[in-house]
Amino acid sequence: MSKKILVVDDSKTALMMEREIVERRTTYQCVTASDGQEAVEKAQQERPDLVLMDVVMPRMNGFEACKRMRQQPGTREIPIVLVTTRGEESYMEAGFRSGCNDYITKPVDGAELVALLHSYLGE
């Protein structure tokens, strides 16, 4: 059974692109959510093998969603990669404090993203 990635972004454009990369350049399945609240719920239901999540989103941002996932037994161990336009060190530190495993900046380089996913999930 192929591994599953939960892609989270409030931008339809980013979601479209990241979904295309996952589905056409890897063997993984993709499920999506459009804000942090939905991501926390979907992570509980779907139990993905990895979460790829934007930071700045309505309702609940990526940092908060990351903390919530870390607090829940079912999602505590899932690798979380945060994706954002903000590349400042302080912002990245906040990401790691929230419990993420990795942090990448936009514009996302498709080849680097695939390599990163493979490093967590294998080919």
Binding site: S11, T13, A14, M16, M17, T85, G87, T105, K106, G110
Partner: protein, 181 residues
């Protein structure tokens, strides 16, 4: 100006790969816009997510005065920026003819890095009906590259109708001498 580069809209594609996915996503997002407001959001998302800038201005041809007016901006107050004047008369004419204009990073005498700027003609029926100005890039984005030029071309050719709706059919043709920044 040193570092200026003029890139014709007909830039050759670099072929298959990740960039094709990006172009496909941008095209799909624009064409599936529900209305003009959603098309503007699509444009903002494309520039932020794919080109790496959160400072954007869109200028539309104003028929009555033969000038450009700020149609929409994000991350800047475009009214306070003399953006199109930075292009100069010759640059503006080139953009009006359909060429993208990219200002590459350079250093002023003071040592301050000049903001990277791109001016993209938004075309409909072989005429420029608006200009998209992209200002400062995100810190992690060093400069525009070849694949970005392909996205400029896509925006140039395909953004007018989603952005301006049916009004694009009645937008004025203002090329050559006479148009003012």
């Amino acid at each position: 100006m040193n570092g200026d580069k003029h890139i014709a809209s007909g830039t050759k594609s670099s072929g298959a790969g990740m960039n094709d996915l990006r172009l496909e996503a941008a095209r799909k997002r624009l064409s599936e816009s529900r209305n003009q407001e959603d098309a503007i959001e699509a444009l903002r998302e494309i520039v932020a997510n794919f080109l790496g800038s959160e400072e954007i201005g869109l200028f539309k041809v104003e028929r009555r005065t033969a000038t450009f007016q700020v149609y929409w901006s994000f991350g800047i107050d475009a009214e306070n920026y003399d953006l199109l004047r930075a292009l100069g008369e010759a640059g503006l004419q080139r953009v009006m003819r359909g060429e993208c204009h990219v200002v590459l990073p350079s250093r002023e005498r003071s040592g301050t890095v000049v903001r990277v700027q791109a001016f993209i003609p938004i075309r409909f029926a072989n005429q420029t009906v608006a200009i998209l100005a992209i200002l400062r890039l995100l810190p992690q984005k060093v400069a525009f590259d070849r694949s970005d030029m392909e996205l400029f071309k896509l925006l140039s050719e395909e953004a007018a109708k989603p952005l301006f709706g049916s009004s694009v059919h009645s937008m004025p043709v203002l090329e050559g001498p006479g148009i003012r920044a």
